[in-house]
Subunit: 125 residues, 2 copies
DNA sequence: CACTGATACAACCGTATGGTTGTATCAGTG
DNA sequence: CACTGATACAACCATACGGTTGTATCAGTG
């Protein structure tokens, strides 16, 4: 509950950095089904419970997962919104380089007729 | 040339970790246009040239950018493939939780049917 | 071919990170 | 209400990381 009331600035740093660890990515994947508590999650990994709990905390800080009390444990569940935030940035990059490709193709088309005139335009700083 | 002959295992750790730094993300963004050398890139950031060069090296290690000799400088250019690799993983996660939502809806639909015989049977997407 | 622009790399430093163990909290259950 | 299952958190350690400065390499250009 405490976490992310605003979420105004999508914290890309935290999101991507959190996804930069394969244990954490695996937790994210497992938590999609949203059925396991921290202790159950920890049982899947060859490290101490505390270590896993710290990973979960990192993911929670990044907004990638949330915890919900169910009975006596806290069920971990991934937050699709945060994943979308990350994906949206990658999409944005993709749009940028697609636009660049398009521009290059345009230039090639334009230059196709004027190949003989200008040729080696290198060495401009 | 030396780097990434195999690339067989998409190194998610390196890719996402590399994207976890906003300076590096900005380098990726700038390098989409593929026009600037390392020195020119460095001029955009409030840190030493060597620091930027290290960031570039990290990105190169992650396969997110490549360098190409043009005149006396090495032009940095982002590698769309690596971005796609990252995006594909996020897409995979998205498919997983969409599948989960669908399953939940099915359960809800079934339960609703039990309550009200047959009603919304079309909502199986 | 000497010069220098552009890049790479090594050594170093402070802080962050991923792991550990141990202790504290906290809510169900017997 | 005592007990304990489940989680949180603190302290600590080794290594990784982001930054610095300084030096080496290396290919164009004059």
């Amino acid at each position: 509950m405490v976490v992310s009331v605003h979420v105004a600035p999508p914290d890309f740093d935290r999101v991507f950095a959190a996804l930069g660890d394969h244990t954490r990515r695996d937790i994210v994947r497992r938590a999609i089904s949203g059925k396991e508590g921290v202790l159950e999650l920890a049982s899947h990994y060859p490290m101490s419970f505390a270590a896993v709990q710290k990973h979960v905390a990192v993911l929670e800080h990044a907004g990638l997962i949330t915890k919900q009390r169910v009975g006596r444990r806290r069920v971990v569940r991934t937050n699709p919104e945060a994943l979308l935030v990350a994906r949206r940035l990658l999409d944005q990059y993709e749009r940028l380089w697609r636009a660049r490709i398009d521009r290059m193709n345009e230039l090639i088309a334009e230059t196709a007729g004027a190949i003989d005139t200008v040729e080696t335009k290198e060495s401009k700083r």
